[in-house]
């Protein structure tokens, strides 16, 4: 991922969202772009290199998926900037819905760059009974046309060869054109047919009062209808199972059922898989049916614990370095939840308690993304989210935030208005616990039964909705209405899912592990030098009287700024009561986002709006913390 600066794409990939463009990109270049079956995954662009047999290579840029070259949102603006400098363009369409995609192709062709058209998902189109006459299509549009199936790799070799055969535009194409047409800003000529009307077959063009030539969109659609009627034949096949499901999923009543089944099933699978990876237990409705002796907890106990006990002996069982590295021994043993040493609780929290849930969450999330169900859920939640000043699509970044707040907040870029992005990002940072935090909450509170866990989640849901409803009255601007194309259901490709899971898991390990170890180290050092006593003293009125927790709990709350999962682990040695643990979990989820989230919040919202966001957070966490502290003892008693 790169910030938008002046790049001159040697090859630019363009296309609607959700046409398999990112999969095609990774097929061509080997770099893995995260692709999903919903609108707006590539909010920034991705770079890679395409190399052929003669060792020649091209830089390939995967532009954000957009519906048209109308600069209606940031993604389209990014794409327009890229087109302006592009020396070659490959425009990708979904062959199953040619008539929906050709208007965009015509817009791109009107930009007069050396272009190749790719009909992707050609295998699926064939399967659905869609026949396309490639030669005739190429003749009608005046471009070379290739059919591919990016998921299987079909047609990729021929495409890559054709790309190298394409005569590129001169390197200074943008400057040449701007000089020629005397255009003030690159974005202003998005709909000009920059080489005069004669070359764009007139039928789709019109002149405005200033003499600029624009594409006439209605004429474009008519022309597309004409082309499609001659190049595409549909053999009427019986409604496939997925098509029946598609109609059911947007039915006012059946659709709610479908979405509920999906949500419940997702939770069950995440929990089942997460616990299976930790314990090796195969659980069915509270009964352990079998145990595979490869649970991460057991593996850790068998391999790491003896090593650490050895080190503990070596260090003499106590003392400064022992307490920092190994932590406190509980009854002469290492207790990973309480010892809190850099080499004991640090890796245990990350690898055994948190990683399994990160894996199971992202596996389920990838499935939901690639299946195409998320936009349907967004449609159903649209009316509820309107009460919060949002429209249904804001639900997708929020769901991503349940994995990690950072990509969630970054994904708010798919929302077109500023106030909507502010509300969505603020709500994510306050009320959406990340997978790491959830793993620890479920792990620790789950020991006391389902009630405390449900109470924590219920409270956060209430905060999410409640804060949204209140914010709606303070944030100016009207709510844009939902207006989206819903992608078809697809059976997710196992290989693509595995690849995506690996990318996300690796990012988690790479980013979380060093931070976790470092934060445990810093906290231990600060403890050794008793630096927290001052904090505890200053914050004790809030922590003690408002939230009914011992004043030392300010330490985990502050550590939450670095890692939320480590912070939950730090509640354990404090010997909190169950209501205090519940209050702690809720407050921790809300009280200051972790430092990575904070950074991305500033990047996405700007400094001023981030401060507003934090102010809102402080008010909400004070109130809710106090409320929970009063309610929790009643609920669990």
């Amino acid at each position: 991922m790169d910030d938008l600066k002046r790049v001159k794409p040697e090859l630019l990939l363009l296309g609607h969202p959700n046409v398999g463009k990112s999969v095609l990109f990774s097929r061509l270049t080997g770099v893995h772009a995260v692709s999903s079956n919903y609108v707006g995954t590539t909010v920034s662009y991705t770079k890679g290199r395409l190399t052929n047999k003669e060792e020649k290579s091209l830089e390939v840029i995967d532009a954000p998926g957009i519906y048209s070259l109308e600069p209606l949102d940031d993604a389209a603006k990014v794409a327009l900037e890229l087109i302006d400098d592009a020396r070659r363009i490959v425009v990708v369409v979904d062959a199953t819905h040619l008539e929906r995609q050709l208007p965009f192709v015509i817009e791109v062709l009107a930009q007069k760059r050396p272009t190749i058209l790719v009909l992707n998902m050609f295998d699926e189109a064939r399967h659905k009974g869609v026949e396309i006459d490639l030669e005739l299509l190429a003749k009608e549009l005046g471009v070379r046309v290739f059919a591919t199936a990016a998921r299987t790799g079909e047609g990729i070799a021929a495409l890559s060869e054709a790309i190298f055969e394409l005569e590129p535009a001169p390197e200074d194409i943008r400057e040449r054109e701007h000089k020629k047409y005397d255009l003030p800003h690159p974005l202003h000529h998005e709909h000009l047919c920059s080489h005069g009307c004669a070359t764009c077959t007139n039928v789709i063009c019109q002149q405005d009062t200033e003499g600029h030539h624009h594409l006439n969109r209605k004429k474009v659609w008519t022309r597309v209808g004409d082309i499609v009627s001659r190049t595409q034949t549909l053999s009427k096949k019986r409604h496939s199972f997925l098509e029946v499901l598609e109609d059911m999923a947007i039915h006012p009543l059946w659709g709610i059922l479908v979405s509920l089944v999906v949500i419940v099933a997702s939770f069950i699978v995440i929990r089942f898989l997460g616990e299976f990876l930790i314990t090796g237990d195969i659980v069915f409705i509270n009964h352990t049916l079998a145990n595979v002796p490869f649970g991460l907890d057991l593996l850790f106990e068998k391999t790491w614990t003896p090593l650490m006990m050895g080190l503990s002996h070596l260090l003499g069982g106590s003392g400064f370095w022992h307490d920092v590295l190994i932590g406190q021994l509980i009854d002469g043993e290492i207790d990973y939840f309480q010892s809190f040493g850099v080499l004991t609780s640090g890796p245990y929290i990350e690898i055994v308690a948190v990683m399994p849930y990160v894996i199971s969450f992202y596996l389920v999330m990838s499935f939901l993304e690639d299946s195409g169900h998320l936009p349907r859920m967004a449609v159903f939640l649209d009316n509820i989210m309107h009460k919060m000043g949002l429209h249904g699509y804001a639900f997708i970044p929020t769901l991503l935030g349940l994995g990690c707040n950072v990509p969630g907040i970054m994904a708010t870029r798919i929302l077109s208005s500023k106030q909507e992005r502010f509300i969505t990002a603020t709500l994510i940072s306050i009320a959406i616990p990340c997978a790491s935090l959830q793993a620890m909450i479920v792990g620790i509170l789950g020991k006391f039964g389902a009630m405390p866990v449900i109470f924590v989640y219920g409270t956060l849901l209430f905060v999410w909705v409640g804060t949204g409803v209140v914010l709606k009255f303070f944030v100016k601007g009207d709510i844009p209405e939902l207006m989206i194309e819903i992608p078809p259901y697809r059976i997710p490709d196992g290989k693509a899912m595995a690849k995506k899971l690996w990318v996300r898991l690796w990012a988690f390990l790479k980013e979380a592990m060093p931070v976790v170890l470092a934060s445990v180290l810093v906290v231990n050092l600060l403890f050794q030098f008793q630096a927290f006593d001052a904090f505890a003293y200053i914050f004790s009125p809030v922590v003690k009287y408002l939230w009914q927790m011992p004043s030392e709990s300010i330490v985990p709350l502050l550590v939450g700024f670095i890692r939320k999962d480590v912070a939950v682990g730090m509640f354990m040695p404090l010997g909190l009561s169950l209501p205090q643990l519940i209050t702690g979990a809720v407050v921790l989820a809300m009280f200051f986002p972790c430092v990575a989230t904070f950074a991305v919040l500033i990047k996405e919202l700007g400094f001023k709006d981030s401060l507003k966001s934090l102010a809102i957070m402080l008010i909400v966490v004070m109130l809710v913390g106090a409320l929970v502290a009063q309610l929790a003892p009643l609920i669990v008693a």
């Binding site: 519906y67 109308e70 208007p103 659609w221 598609e246 006012p252 207006m483 989206i484 194309e485 819903i486």
Partner: protein, 76 residues
Amino acid sequence: MKTLLEMEAGQRGEVSEIIGGQGFRKKLEALGIFEGRVLEKISQLKLKGPVVLRIDRAQVAIGCESAKRIKLSILE
């Protein structure tokens, strides 16, 4: 003539009028909705939820306020 909101699910109609400014029209045009286009309403979600319609074999969802501003003549 009925608005998209008033139409029954299952009915087909030809768009006869779109009430709104340039921006609104352009967004709809990008989805292939403009005067003269034929589409089928397939679902109306409860509680002022969006309208889902079928156009060119694709499903498109449109918020109910916008749906009020699209008028169609019903085809039987």
